[in-house]
């Protein structure tokens, strides 16, 4: 059962800081001093009364000096240990406690385990009991713990400017309920967010029963689930699809970003990775076809990617369906689609050859008709019940926000209760919601921040964060999970279900009782036992949505197709499509004041603290904003005009449907030619000092008729520029072997392909012949061909830590970046410092585009030759992603250059950092070839980010609330010291200690080796695709040893002989050789060959199958044919 902690405010006597004597009177008043006096000078104590200050000083001078007053300045400040008054069962100071909870988001939730230190949550992990996620969690879940400690959250209830006490707020809600009970709710309206909570659903049913005339409206600005209308039309049932990617060998995504943006993406990513992971050449590998307009993470994993405007996906889906099913009903819709017919023909053939093991997924934002077609294709291929299951969900009876707006305009709403959300910021633009909301007589807004909606509401009730609330939710597949409070509401906030219960006037309004009643009713059995198990496990067994069998109705399908016309009109600069995407870190704008998410760069654009209007390189050229060229010494075209490290973007106005918005434009390779992609969630006007003013709001031009994409837009330059914080200028690997890729077919013939790349393949091994044959464990302990200038450390620890990152499965979700930040107390630095390259992330994700054109003729155009390969921005690149953190090199170049020996190697292979010894020379960062060392240029933890340059004159001190998120197991670093990934040394040490304590107490004290899988680094624990594997390389059976033994294992920049402990597994692509855009080699590999093997000198490489045709510089036949004819 959940412990009830009492966190009442500390009283006077509980000291919170050093206690200095301010005056002699104060000193003499304390009981301690009296005793001291009595012990030392019994006669002095008795003569104290009635003595004047001078004699007192004379008497006491000596004892003062010795007792600490005289030398108090030299003594350390007196600190206190403050144990509890009454012991708390189960609390062991120093050990964290873990409780199961869940983070709800729209109609699903992520089950979590919250790690709490001293009663407050500091880190969230996925709940491993929920098998589909396997203990992983998402980027947003990792960052949500910071939201709990947001100093700008609403801390008081307000009503018309005055503070409302909790009791008064309760009375207000009860009053609303009583008033409207009499009129059956006429005039009462609710606008709520979507929720999967069974308790809320139960309360809403009661609300509908008690207030039948009230309006219950739900609004979410972004959709992550397929529209219910599609299933209703073709299946006649309220069902939604759950995809089983692990069983699918051929997957087609119709503008669906199922790896990161859709509901259930954690599960889908994990399952997709199971099909993607290839550990030996007999393993099968799935194939992904993607048709999309924006460049999403799913698109970056695609084996074949078609750039297609979102509005043309409907026609594309129909064409594909027509080819697969042969049904003539699609022909009309597929007319006018301007792409290579072979693309569709071959894709259809591939799907048809995999009946029952293929899958077609449509993006949630696509209209119902597209989903209907996807369901039909899946049905025709026999996928239903195999790679896709349909589960029964409750039908949604809520009213849309547009209908609510109509009701408000018709003056039928007297009281509006806004539960969460932020309609004043993100409601469809044509509704002009701020005016509507102001026109309602009484507006009660229940919200977490004092935001745009609260500013227009009469009453604001401070909400509690989910980490301090009782509640429940359902995961994407329907399993009921608890939302447990980790701490009493810090500011006395209430929850949504409590609010509804009070309006209903229920006898029990506390969250715990409400959830208890719901869950015990669902779970059955002994209620106390059921509930306790529910809280312990973090889920309710057997509560998932039931899988039902469905039958496709041809008539329903024909009806849907007939009612929606295909998009007409070619897109061009004067007729652009605008695609509104949910931002990867901001979501729909709710996380605007979360510094970790603002600073986490977008995985594809690499821009932080801002959003931009993304345009394709072709459109960029037509708009005249192509970067003017590059520095002479740079062998590639810059992706933007960079000045002093910051991207200097052109500011444009985007006009669509008569509405305009202004924003910087960023050229993004891989976009559909005439689609402008805009991320939602920025441009908040009332969000706290982190979120306000970051980016621009795309909601201003978005309407309810076209919430995801709309055509008829134009971009007009304003002539001004604006700096963007772009964290990665390099977009090209320039023919280097940073990410070693091969096609799956080549891998099957030649699993050792990574050995043929890089300088290591041309030069004698750094390890010598003997060393080459050793296992990683042997290499670590025997250090073959050490011969370095300094004494290499003896690796005689009982563990040797190593890590392997599988580039084949990494999807680039950036969850590892924020997990590391949460675990290791990494500060944020603000936009200005990010523009100077000073972001503090210990692990970063590098993203590269390859178009197969980079070659060794850099600067050829300077001398009148044909432009060299990287002198144009790629329109249709392949994307490669690589997470890089400190690789804990065995022969680390950073250790030998530290003048004060602050960074040394330990006997278990870690490159350690002693922060207190570091003097800030930064030579180590200079010497690091991976550039993973981060320097604290300013006191980011102590001084506000807007006055860093004032140094010591800036206001001092982090708000107490923000301090609470820090992990007490890790040092909080100050200005002037270097930091970097430590393989989560705190977890390693704690793991080792706990293991030793356990075995010592069990009588087996010599068992000191920690079993594999017990110690997990933060990045490993959060990774949904299990791409990061960490463990003991001395153990040949550990996961990491097995990964390093795979043939695709290689070290980044291995030729430098620094022997990194983090190695990578090469990436594989699985293209279909019959497709028109087939390339016999991955494009980055072609670039590598161009750069390194130009001319004929490959005779020394021997005969290998699938070798590329000899390059003579320039474009060879292995390059994909130009597909600029794609519909744009």
């Amino acid at each position: 059962m959940k412990r009830k902690f009492d966190h009442s405010a500390p009283s006077e006597s509980a000291l919170t800081g050093p206690r200095y004597w301010r005056s002699l009177d104060e000193l003499t008043a304390t009981p301690g001093f009296q005793q001291h006096l009595a012990r030392e000078f019994p006669e002095g104590a008795s003569t104290l009364d009635g003595v004047d200050r001078r004699s007192f000083m004379k008497l006491m001078a000596a004892s003062f000096a010795l007792g600490g007053l005289g030398l108090a300045g030299c003594r350390r400040p007196e600190k206190n240990i403050l144990p509890f008054g009454k012991s708390i069962e189960g609390v062991i100071p120093g050990l964290p406690q873990y409780f199961a909870t869940a983070m709800p988001l729209r109609k699903s939730a992520i089950p979590l385990l919250a790690e709490t230190h001293q009663g407050r949550p500091t880190k969230l992990e996925g709940n491993p009991t929920y098998a589909p996620h396997g203990g992983a969690s998402s980027l947003l879940a990792q960052a949500s713990v910071l939201d709990l400690y947001d100093p700008e959250r609403a801390t008081v209830n307000t009503s018309k400017g005055d503070v409302l006490s909790a009791a008064a707020a309760n009375d207000l809600l009860a009053g609303v309920g009583k008033t409207y009970a009499a009129v059956q709710g006429a005039g009462l309206a609710f606008l709520a967010e979507q929720s999967s909570s069974p308790t809320r659903a139960r309360l809403v049913d009661q609300l509908r029963a008690k207030f039948p005339k009230a309006v219950w409206s739900e609004y979410e600005p972004v959709s992550d689930e397929p529209p219910a209308a599609a299933a209703r039309a073709v299946f006649g049932a309220a069902v939604k699809p759950i995809y089983r990617f692990a069983k699918a060998e051929r997957i087609v995504s119709l503008d669906a970003d199922f790896l990161s943006a859709e509901s259930g993406s954690l599960y889908y990513a994990r399952e997709f990775a199971k099909g993607r992971r290839v550990t030996k050449k007999e393993d099968p590998m799935n194939r992904l076809y993607v048709a999309e307009s924006a460049l999403t993470l799913t698109g970056s994993m695609a084996d074949h990617r078609l750039r297609l405007a979102s509005s043309h996906i409907y026609s594309f889906a129909a064409a594909l369906a027509g080819k697969i099913t042969g049904d003539a009903v699609y022909a009309r819709v597929a007319e006018g689609l301007d792409i290579k017919p072979e693309w569709i023909a071959e894709c259809a053939a591939d799907l048809a050859a995999h009946k029952g093991t293929s899958l077609v997924v449509a993006g949630a934002h696509q209209p119902a008709a597209v989903h209907a077609i996807a369901y039909a294709i899946n049905a025709s291929l026999g996928n239903i019940g195999r790679t896709v299951d349909f589960v029964e969900v409750a039908a949604d009876e809520s009213v849309s926000i547009s209908d609510l707006a109509k009701a408000i305009t018709a003056n039928s709403v007297k009281t509006l209760v806004v539960l969460g959300g932020n309609p004043a910021y993100n409601a469809p633009a044509e509704l002009n919601w701020p005016a509507l909301q102001k026109s309602v007589g009484e507006v009660i807004r229940f919200g977490y921040h004092s935001d745009e909606t609260s500013a227009l509401a009469g009453t604001h009730l401070a909400a509690a964060h989910y980490l301090e609330s009782w509640g429940d939710a359902r995961t994407a597949d329907g399993v009921v999970v608890p939302v447990q409070p980790m701490i009493l509401p810090l500011f006395g906030g209430i929850t949504e279900i409590e609010t509804l219960a009070r309006i209903l006037g229920l006898p029990k309004t506390d969250g715990y009782s409400l959830v208890f009643d719901t869950v015990t009713a669902l779970g059955g059995g002994d209620s106390a036992k059921t509930f306790r198990r529910f809280l312990h496990d973090g889920l309710l067994a057997n509560s998932a949505y039931p899988i039902v069998s469905v039958n496709l109705s041809g008539r329903g399908l024909a009806q849907v197709l007939g009612s929606v016309a295909p998009a007409v009109g070619a897109l061009s600069k004067a007729n652009l499509e605008v695609r509104f995407v949910t931002d990867h870190t901001m979501d729909d704008g709710r996380f605007a004041n979360n510094g970790w998410l603002q600073e986490c760069p977008d995985p594809i654009t690499k821009i932080s603290w801002d959003n931009a209007i993304l345009v394709s390189p072709r459109l960029g050229k037509e708009l005249g904003i192509e970067p003017k060229g590059s520095l002479i010494q740079v062998a590639r075209k810059e992706e933007a005009d960079f000045t002093q490290g910051a991207e200097n973007a052109h500011v444009f106005t985007l006009t669509v449907g008569g509405r305009t918005v202004r924003g910087p434009v960023h050229i993004q390779p891989g976009l559909s030619n005439y689609t402008a992609v805009v991320a939602l969630g920025y441009g908040r006007t009332k969000s706290g000092h982190v979120g306000t003013g970051a980016g621009f709001s795309a909601y201003a031009v978005r309407t309810a008729q076209a919430p995801a994409f709309v055509t008829g837009a134009t971009l007009v330059t304003t002539g001004t520029r604006m700096k963007l914080a772009n964290t990665q200028e390099h977009w090209s690997m320039e023919g280097r072997d940073l990410i070693r890729e091969a096609n799956y077919s080549e891998y099957k013939e030649n699993p050792d392909y990574v050995r043929e790349m890089g300088i290591e393949s041309h030069a004698p091994s750094n390890l010598g012949k003997v060393g080459e044959a050793m296992t990683p464990a042997q290499r670590a302990t025997e250090i073959p061909r050490g011969g370095s200038l300094y004494e290499t450390p003896k690796f005689d620890g009982v563990h040797q830590w190593g890590m392997s990152i599988d580039l084949n499965t990494c999807i680039g979700c950036n969850a590892c970046v924020v997990a590391c930040q949460a675990e290791n107390n990494i500060p944020i630095v603000g936009k200005d410092q990010v523009m100077r390259g000073r972001e503090m992330h210990w692990i970063r994700l590098d993203r590269y585009y390859s178009d197969g054109k980079a070659d060794g003729r850099a600067m050829a155009d300077l001398f009148g030759g044909e432009p060299s390969g990287n002198s144009i921005l790629p329109e249709d690149p392949q994307i490669s992603l690589q997470p890089i953190a400190c690789a804990q090199c065995e022969l680390a170049p950073c250790e030998i250059v530290c003048p004060v020996n602050a960074t040394v190697h330990d006997d278990e292979g870690l490159n350690t950092m002693a922060y207190n010894r570091c003097i800030g020379t930064r030579y180590c960062a200079n010497n690091c070839p991976y550039k993973v060392r981060r320097f604290n240029f300013f006191d980011y933890n102590l001084r506000p980010l807007d006055s860093l340059y004032l140094g010591q004159l800036a206001p001092k001190g982090m708000p107490e609330l923000v301090k609470m998120v820090k992990n007490p197991e890790v040092t909080v670093r100050m200005r002037g010291v270097m930091e970097k990934c430590t393989y989560c040394v705190q977890r390693i040490q704690n793991g080792k200690i706990q293991h030793k304590v356990k075995t010592a107490q069990a009588g087996r004290p010599s068992d000191v080796v920690v079993p594999d899988g017990v110690i997990k680094t933060a990045c490993q624990q959060v990774c949904p695709v299990e791409s990061i594997v960490f463990g003991n390389i001395l153990d040949p059976k550990s996961e990491v040893s097995v990964a390093k033994a795979r043939e695709q294992d290689y070290a980044l920049l291995g030729y430098l002989n620094i022997r990194p402990r983090t190695t990578y597994l090469g990436k594989l692509r699985n293209p279909n050789s019959k497709m028109p855009d087939y390339a016999a080699l991955p494009l980055s590999r072609i670039e590598y060959n161009n750069k390194n093997h130009s001319g004929d000198h490959s005779s020394s490489h021997g005969e290998k199958p699938e070798k590329p045709a000899k390059q003579s510089g320039g474009h060879s036949s292995v390059l994909p044919s130009n597909h600029s004819g794609g519909l744009s």
Binding site: G85, S87, I92, G94, D906, T912, V997, A1000, Q1001, S1006
Partner: protein, 217 residues
């Protein structure tokens, strides 16, 4: 050139150098002696809000360390007991003593008794009690003979040099695990010689970290 300086000025540079060297020597010696943890910390015996005597409770009454410091075997912190632990006995013994008033008030109200923190390492150094007491390192090695102290005093310097002294030579400082909480017991080396200590270290695979990662996180 007129004579500006008297002849005795010739020896001035040498005098200045000698004085500087002597001064530096004194300053260095002063700093080395006075400004190290060995001088500044050892002997620190602050006045506590309640005059708890370990001598009475441990030596006279025979309480085990773990009765109060109950989590020392499980956690990195060796917890100072809550007032409830004190009240377990003191609700029957010395129930009206004015010296125990802070404890009774704390138990009644839930506020903490503001004990003064004596053994404190810097925030960036992480010491873990459980790893030590479960593996043969007794309380007395770092805290001295607490069982004989009326007032707890800082007994050892607890500087990094002090820690490394034992970490480099654990064989002389370990004792039988059942003697860890007996502060009058002897180390294995004292009882049976250094070889016995070395055998214990070998059998238990005691490898105290000597690298920074052991304590600096």
């Amino acid at each position: 050139m007129s004579k500006i300086f008297p002849k005795s000025a010739n020896s001035l540079p040498l005098q200045i150098i000698i004085y500087l060297v002597v001064l530096t020597g004194i300053a260095t010696a002063g700093v080395t002696y006075y400004m190290t943890p060995k001088y500044t910390r050892i002997g620190y015996a602050p006045v506590q809000p309640v005059p708890f005597s370990h001598e009475k409770h441990v030596s006279e009454l025979g309480m085990d360390c773990r009765f109060c410091h109950s989590n020392v075997e499980k956690s990195g912190h060796s917890n100072v007991p809550t007032s409830q632990t004190c009240m377990n006995c003191h609700n029957q013994i010395k129930t009206n003593s004015p010296l125990l008033a802070p404890v009774r008030e704390s138990y009644a109200s839930g506020d903490s008794v503001p004990w003064v923190w004596i053994h404190k390492t810097p925030d960036y150094a992480y010491f873990n009690h459980a790893a030590h007491v479960n593996r043969g390192v007794s309380c007395v090695e770092c805290h001295g003979k607490i069982n004989e102290m009326e007032v707890v005093a800082h007994n050892q310097s607890l500087s990094m040099a002090f820690c490394l002294e034992c970490h480099r030579n654990p064989e002389t400082r370990v004792r039988d695990p059942k003697d860890v909480y007996d502060l009058n017991s002897q180390t294995i080396a004292a009882k049976a010689g250094v070889e016995a200590g070395e055998k214990f270290v070998h059998d238990w695979k005691i490898k105290p970290p000597q690298s920074c990662s052991g304590c600096h996180r």
